[in-house]
Amino acid sequence: MKFLLIDDSEIELYVTSRLLDNAGLSSSVQTFLEAKDALSHLHTIKMEDHNLPDVILLDIHMPTMSGFDFLDNYIQSLGEVLSERISIIILSSTADQKDFEKAARYEVVKGVFDKPLDTIRLKSLLEEINS
């Protein structure tokens, strides 16, 4: 499965990549430190199905473009093309339960996870989504 990770912390990107890799969940992992770069990348490849990620793991609290900003932009500009194709999953260490509740209200968001990523839970969630 192809993953795209968006997080403003390099450590987090590394850790999550390793966790996915070790759990045997990912065939490829692409990482972005800025949500807006991820967004423009998705714009570029939106018509190339073989290049599209299957799952986006998205952090919430990031400078300039937050996870929520990303979601709003994504839904507006790419939602029609990609919302069925890509599962977005929130991965955040927020201490505010309200952030998770807010994120879960987005239809494109298929799950919310506290850090560090629980790969066993993620695996069963992805199986559920793809069945």
């Binding site: 987090e12 850790v15 390793r18 201490a95 506290d114 850090k115 560090p116 990523l117 629980d118």
Partner: protein, 369 residues
């Protein structure tokens, strides 16, 4: 408000113009005296400018000085009030002190030294009060800032803590030698402890800040959600969670605080199990006694709490056992939340038998949020 630096202003109400001239002459060096001859004019002046001292004659034509001072007391609480009188009127004195909250008396004919010292003391009194108010505001602000600081610091600490957890997880997955593995598991335990403390701090400050929002409550659902949330908690996999409720009436309450209470009581029940026994369980029951009261119980067959410790478990930072990670803030937060929603809690427990918390929560069905 900051104590004023300019010349203090005195409002002087007297129906004899020469008295006004006289008082102004005595006080002109240090004070600005604004005179008027009727209560009606005085109201207009009070609405226009701020006075530090108000001096009123007892006899004001048809009006009464005490009644006037009493009348303006609530609207203008800060100026210090002085009553001026030609002779000692016992009744007026009693009424003046008890009702109009007069600070001092002045007698006619005006004696310069007496006037100066009375006004000076009155102004000092005004300044002290103002300063006190000012300091109180400052203190409240500092307290608020401190709260916010602790709150945001705990928030910011969480991300790096979770990051450490992630790195440990990766290291454990990728295989390290046994001794290092052991060190990592120790680090993990400490980080978890710090993280739990942090989360507790956050909920403590939220509890003290958050306004009460009354929402429909489904106790069974709350308990189920929290059980689910903690099923991956270390040690939780061997615990049998049992929910036994008969909530059949709609029920309203402060969902936020009820969740805080559930969360802490349930995590404690998970944490303080006896590792050696096989049939570990946590039983949650809920009985809504009519529409206005719910009785909830959280029961485990864990390590229990002896009688001596039962009295102290709700104290801040009190820990009844060394055996588990914890900072002793969880039940303190429970107690705070319980106080806020007007609930009652009691405990039944025996060491090595288990613990049962019994909670009575009043419904907020008829109370406007």
């Amino acid at each position: 408000m900051k104590p004023s630096e300019s010349k203090p202003k005195i409002l002087y109400v007297d129906d004899e113009p020469h008295n006004i001239t006289g008082l102004r002459a005595i006080l002109r060096k240090e004070y600005e005296v604004i005179g008027c001859m009727s209560v009606k004019e005085a109201y207009v002046l009070l609405a226009e400018q701020e006075f530090q001292i108000i001096v009123a004659d007892l006899k004001l034509g048809e009006d009464d000085g005490v009644d006037f001072l009493d009348d303006i007391r609530l609207k203008y609480p800060r100026p210090v009030k002085i009553l001026l009188t030609a002779f000692f009127d016992f009744e007026a004195a009693v009424k003046g002190i008890n009702k109009a909250k007069i600070f001092s008396y002045l007698f006619k004919p005006l004696n310069e030294d007496e006037v100066l010292s009375t006004i000076r003391i009155a102004y000092e009194h005004y300044q002290n009060n103002t300063l006190l108010e000012f300091r109180k505001d400052e203190l409240e602000k500092a307290h608020e800032e401190l709260n916010r600081f602790v709150y945001s610091a705990s928030h910011d600490m969480r991300a790096p803590l979770r990051s450490i957890m992630g790195i440990i997880k990766v290291a454990e997955m990728e295989g390290i030698d046994e001794r290092v593995q052991h060190y990592f598991s120790l680090i993990e335990r400490s980080v978890n402890q710090l993280d739990a403390f942090n989360v507790n701090l956050i909920s403590y400050f939220k509890n003290s800040k958050q306004e009460t929002v009354i929402e429909p409550i489904d106790f069974k659902e709350i308990a189920r959600d929290i059980f689910e949330q903690f099923q991956y908690y270390p040690g939780a996999e061997s615990i049998n969670f049992i929910i036994n409720t008969n909530q059949n009436t709609p029920w309203m309450g402060d969902l936020f605080r009820i969740k805080i209470i559930f969360n802490n009581l349930i995590t404690n029940a998970i944490k303080f199990q006896r590792n050696e026994i096989a049939n570990k369980h946590i039983i949650f029951t809920c009985d809504t006694k009519g529409p206005d009261k719910a009785v909830l119980t959280f029961e485990d067959n864990g390590i229990g709490i002896d009688e001596e410790n039962q009295k102290r478990i709700f104290e801040m930072f009190y820990r009844a056992t060394r055996e588990n990670s914890g900072s002793g803030i969880g039940l303190y937060i429970v107690k705070e939340a319980i106080n806020k929603i007007g609930a009652l809690i009691r405990i039944e427990s025996k060491p090595n038998m288990g613990t049962k918390f019994i909670l009575e929560i009043p419904s907020k069905l008829n109370i406007e949020a």
